[in-house]
């Protein structure tokens, strides 16, 4: 409910800024005009096709990145030797921007989904990985010793001690990765021209169709909001035991 208030505030500001003449409405149109443009968009099949294309790239890319990030992160985090051996490589690869890999992606996949996926996975993977690494390091030694004293095997320790401890970190990682994946899906479409929202934005941009451009940008933003809502709901269910969730139940 309160969240709607926040969004409403944003809408009001965007309406007021151009109307008051603080910014030229040719460059930042008021909310009403953006909404009108959005209204024109949502009735076209092309628009929904674009949303579907973007979401497909997003879902697949995110799923691959999260799965890989978690598996690699837990493996590296649980085995100190692996961690020591890989950390320099990870730090080397991490700051390489996905956008710099665009020629490589196009080389391999053209404008297919593969191109977008390559960029999405590459960028989102690190988000999850780093969070998992920090989460794994957060295991309470007493909890771990308890598990060891009862002779839990490696797998049981991962599953029952390490994983629940890392879970809040993983959630943050997934939320970060979710938006990064969306950002890169759109960027890849924007630059490479793979079908999707990004391509539509690019077209609107080069055509100087400003309200359309903002309407499409708003759609990406709203997708982000929706994704976060889902993530939060899921978190409330799975982390009910965690201080961050239980602390907020009114006492």
């Amino acid at each position: 409910m309160r969240g709607l208030l926040g969004l409403a505030g944003l809408l009001v500001i965007v309406e007021a800024l151009p109307r008051s003449g603080l910014v030229d409405d040719g460059y930042l149109p008021p909310t009403s005009r953006i909404v009108a443009a959005l209204g024109d968009e949502v009735v076209t099949a092309e628009f929904w096709q674009a949303v579907a294309d973007t979401l497909t790239a997003w879902v697949i890319g995110l799923a691959v990145a999260v799965a890989a990030g978690v598996v690699v992160g837990v493996a590296i985090g649980a085995v100190p030797v692996l961690r020591a051996a890989t950390s320099s490589t990870i730090e080397f690869l991490r700051p390489i921007p996905s956008v710099a890999l665009i020629p490589l992606a196009v080389l391999l996949y053209g404008t297919d989904l593969g191109s977008t996926l390559l960029l999405v996975v590459y960028a989102a993977f690190w988000q999850v990985l780093v969070q998992v690494l920090y989460g794994v390091a957060d295991v309470d030694p007493i909890a771990d010793e308890t598990a060891r004293s009862f002779r839990f095997g490696a797998w049981a320790r991962i599953r029952h001690v390490l994983w629940p401890t890392a879970l809040p970190y993983v959630f943050t990682g997934v939320r970060l990765a979710a938006s990064v994946a969306l950002v890169l899906a759109v960027t890849a479409e924007l630059v490479i021209g793979a079908p999707g929202l990004g391509k539509m934005i690019a077209v609107a941009q080069t055509s100087g169709a400003v309200p359309d451009m903002y309407a499409l940008i708003a759609v990406t933003g709203l997708l982000g909001v929706a994704i976060n809502l889902a993530a939060r709901a899921f978190e409330r269910r799975t982390l009910a035991w965690h201080q961050s969730v239980r602390g907020e139940v009114p006492a």
């Binding site: 909890a143 010793e145 308890t146 060891r148 004293s149 009862f150 002779r151 029952h160």
Partner: protein
């Protein structure tokens, strides 16, 4: 048989927690360990459980040197709160080690129920540890160890947070478990009466740098109960002896 010989532990950079500990505990024996706060009792227990690598000397259980947690061992940690998994209910906390032992489901539920009832927590199975009081949490940790039916049981001040009456009940629980299953028990406590009431022997540690200061054999009858045993004049004698030894341990370090 548990044997500790020449055990030394130095924490980095230079806290010498244990200097030189040597003693043995027979299979099926119940030995209590007392000593001043900070003398290294917890450190000792961790070394025995194979959780901590000693700086010198060695620990062996049934002839094999301990390098990791030996099978059939259960431990009640002094930090009971942190040793319970907050993401699991009480039942799951108690049941998890049994699952690791691959016990069948029905056996598991029976053991869980039994042990929780024994510590007076029947009815709290589906609460989370952080919804319980300190004493209740400690009892969950005890129930977990009891349900495990260990062959070696290490307990680190396991009754520190429970009231007198519950404490007496739990003492009797440990003794009956010990008698019934023939488990080797090493029991750390601050309560001298408790040490004498429970143990067959009481080991007294000096304050840091720690050695075994003294030990007594508790020559009370094997059948003990809260009322009569504690009223036994021999009981009073023994506890006075222990008290004096500890006093002496403290004084010796205080003066030099």
């Amino acid at each position: 048989m548990l044997s500790v010989s020449g055990l030394r532990k130095v924490y980095q950079p230079h806290v010498e927690a244990l200097r030189d500990l040597t003693f043995t505990v027979e299979r099926g024996e119940l030995v209590c360990l007392v000593g001043p706060s900070g003398c290294g009792k917890t450190t000792l227990l961790r070394c025995i459980a194979g959780l901590l690598e000693p700086t010198g000397g060695k620990v062996s259980l049934d002839g094999r040197e301990v390098s990791g947690p030996p099978p059939g061992l259960a431990m009640v940690f002094q930090e009971y709160g942190r040793s319970l998994f907050p993401w699991m209910t009480v039942r799951d906390n108690v049941e998890l080690p049994l699952k690791q032992k691959r016990l069948p489901r029905t056996r598991r539920s029976a053991l869980v129920e039994e042990s929780l009832t024994a510590v007076g927590l029947a009815g709290s199975e589906s609460a989370y540890p952080w919804q319980l009081s300190g004493g209740m949490q400690q009892r969950v940790a005890i129930a977990r160890a009891v349900a495990y039916e260990p062959s070696t049981l290490l307990m680190d001040e396991p009754f520190a947070a429970v009231d007198a009456q519950t404490r007496a009940d739990l003492e009797d629980l440990v003794r009956s478990l010990w008698q019934r299953l023939g488990v080797t028990v090493l029991f750390i406590t601050h309560d001298i009466d408790e040490a004498v009431y429970l143990g067959q022997r009481v080991l007294m540690l000096s304050s840091s740098p720690t050695v075994v200061q003294d030990e007594i054999t508790v020559d009370l009858p094997a059948e003990r109960d809260q009322l009569h045993t504690r009223a036994d004049p021999r009981f009073t004698e023994l506890r006075t002896h222990v008290y004096e030894q500890i006093q002496a341990a403290k004084l010796s370090t205080r003066t030099g």
